[in-house]
């Protein structure tokens, strides 16, 4: 569906029409960029200037040392490191497991396969709050509280949405390649490793990026399982930020927020194509 995006049908926009379109686009551009820009300017202000009315649009002096201060006041480095580790493990876990499972569903015939696949889809309907409490009991029984295991291990079971996404993609790959590998004496895993995986890198990238975003931003999971501040990921660490001081230090909080946003923006700009494709596939299949 996303395949070839043509620059649509409207060849015949009149001049006033065109002006109107650009004006509207301009207004909305400002609207969409303003919050993030405001986050940035606030992060560079002296705390006193944050409360000025009318607001100071351009921070002066620019307090770049706010960005140092947050690393001194809070274990920001630990937060960052935790988030990075947490997301990387989850991305790897879900990529490996979801692709294996998706390959099974896309390519291998077995009795009960379709019924099982329906079950996979059905699990997407279950709100995570339903399974959250028994999972909590399971993981605390296992002695995994205050560790990342409860957050990371389930990722290695694959997620229904990712399995679905990858299966759709695998269904579209030509079977002739499988057969050729078979004739050469390769088993199913060889087919998976040599044919399916290399061809599916774009869709794997989509899966990985969506998982990264989800984990990077997730609050509830870490909130349930982690108690020690130095173990917090960035999302949870941010909430610690406002509570640690008497009044909210808006300039520092915004600086820390910027730090939390930068990795996402970087990934977004590096992988924009897959990113947007991922969202579209999500809707069209």
């Amino acid at each position: 569906m996303a395949g070839k995006i043509s620059l649509s049908r409207r060849e015949t926009l009149s001049v006033p029409g065109k002006v109107l379109v650009y004006v509207l686009l301009g207004i909305f551009t400002i609207f969409f960029l303003f919050p993030l820009a405001w986050m940035l300017t606030t992060s560079l202000k002296v705390l006193g200037d944050v409360y000025l009315m009318p607001p100071k649009w351009i921070p002066w002096p620019m307090l770049w040392k706010n960005y140092v201060q947050i690393f001194i006041d809070q274990p920001m480095l630990a937060y960052l490191w935790n988030s990075l580790g947490y997301t990387v493990y989850c991305v790897v876990g879900t990529a490996i497991s979801s692709s294996l499972v998706a390959y099974g569903f896309a390519r291998l015939r077995a009795r009960g396969r379709n019924a099982l696949f329906l079950l996979v889809l059905a699990t997407m309907m279950i709100p995570s709050q339903v399974t959250m409490i028994p999972q909590f009991l399971l993981f605390s029984g296992a002695g995994w509280m205050d560790t990342y295991l409860p957050l990371v291990i389930p990722a290695f079971a694959g997620s229904a949405f990712n399995i679905f996404l990858l299966r759709q993609f695998y269904l579209g790959l030509p079977r002739a390649l499988d057969e050729a590998t078979m004739i050469d004496g390769g088993g199913y895993f060889t087919i998976f490793r040599l044919i399916i995986l290399p061809l599916s890198l774009p869709s794997m990238a989509t899966v990985g990026i969506l998982e990264f975003m989800y984990r990077w931003n997730d609050l509830m999971g870490p909130l349930v399982y982690l108690n020690t501040t130095s173990k917090y990921p960035l999302a949870l660490g941010l909430t610690n930020f406002s509570a640690a001081y008497g009044a909210t230090p808006w300039n520092l909080l915004m600086a820390a927020s910027i730090v939390s946003v930068v990795p996402l923006l970087l990934i977004f700009f590096l992988a924009q194509k897959h990113f947007i494709q991922g969202i579209v596939i999500n809707a069209s299949k």
């Binding site: 969409f32 993030l36 931003n217 609050l219 941010l238 927020s257 939390s260 069209s284």
Partner: protein
């Protein structure tokens, strides 16, 4: 020629034996490949679903063993004022946020779909803020909408609208949350935009021949053709709205006066604040029923109102 039938029978028997051994091997491989999901299902979703259902009929606070209370939790829930409050707060939010987001993102997608230069850049700009979901965006909005020092009130003061209390007033707190969703509708915009770009052009050409204006074309061609995608976004929106948590946790903590005590926030407090795991499980099951019912309802309505193409029958 005469000897061949015998040979063929031989070969086919041999082949079918071989085929069934291949089938067996394939079946074994299938279960091996899907085993991560099967194990995960038993441990992390299927098993927990059963456990959660059982727990919902008990009182359980981790300290002592669960005690069976039958439908007690459910009966109690309907007498629980916070339960009704959190449900109505969430419903109110959903009712405002879902239509608002759908309408705004569809209009923005149409705007982006005009033949303009730099479409990709605008698309990126509209989408970028929505990758920053969660905690950072919540803090940002609570600062933007700060009643004393927020820049939004300052800007509004020019048109005589300053002094709004936003998250601090019972009447404006939910609309404030709705307003906040604007920074995260990028995904919906992109979905609409991609769908718009795959619409057939001939209908529009025909409409132009017949002298139908832009607005007319939008309502009688674009909206019907997009209705499956609109439905998809509505269902996703409903499910998402009913599970709103982070924003409430970060910005208002349920206040003022319980007016943003969202359902999942209440559930979370019951479970991990008060450790009433049985009661919270009952709440979780009601949430499931609500989401399930809303989805079924949307799909039912869609049978009547949603236009699907000739070949495709699903979302």
């Amino acid at each position: 020629m005469k000897a061949i039938p015998v040979q063929r029978a031989d070969v086919s028997a041999h082949l079918s034996a071989k085929r069934s051994s291949i089938a067996k091997k394939e079946e074994r491989a299938f279960w091996l490949f899907v085993s991560p999901w099967v194990i995960g299902f038993i441990l992390f979703s299927g098993g927990p679903i059963v456990a959660s259902l059982v727990l919902s009929f008990t009182n359980y606070n981790v300290m002592s063993l669960p005690s069976f209370v039958g439908l007690g939790n459910f009966v109690q829930l309907f007498h629980d004022q916070l339960f009704t409050k959190s449900l109505s707060v969430t419903a109110y939010y959903t009712l405002l946020a879902v239509p608002f987001d759908i309408v705004v993102s569809l209009l923005l997608a149409v705007l982006l779909n005009q033949k303009v230069k730099g479409q990709t850049i605008f698309r990126t700009i509209f989408y970028a803020p929505s990758i920053v979901s969660g905690v950072a965006i919540s803090f940002l909005w609570s600062w933007l909408l700060n009643p004393q020092f927020g820049v939004v009130n300052y800007l509004l003061s020019f048109i005589g609208l300053g002094g709004l209390q936003w998250f601090n007033s019972p009447t404006t707190v939910i609309p404030s949350f709705v307003l906040m969703t604007l920074t995260s509708i990028g995904g919906t915009i992109i979905i609409f935009l991609a769908s718009l770009q795959s619409l057939p052009t001939d209908l529009y050409e025909a409409a132009e021949m017949d002298g139908g204006g832009r607005v007319r074309q939008f309502f009688s061609i674009t909206v019907p053709l997009l209705s499956p995608v609109i439905l998809f976004n509505v269902i996703m929106g409903l499910i998402g709205s009913f599970q709103i948590f982070t924003q409430a946790y970060v910005i208002t903590q349920g206040g003022p006066d319980w007016n943003s005590y969202f359902y999942v926030y209440y559930l979370f407090n019951t479970a991990f604040g008060q450790m009433r795991l049985g009661y919270a499980s009952a709440q979780a099951w009601i949430l499931f029923l609500i989401i399930f019912a809303l989805t079924v309802l949307s799909l039912q309505l869609s049978k009547r109102y949603v236009h699907y193409g000739d070949t495709e029958g699903g979302i």
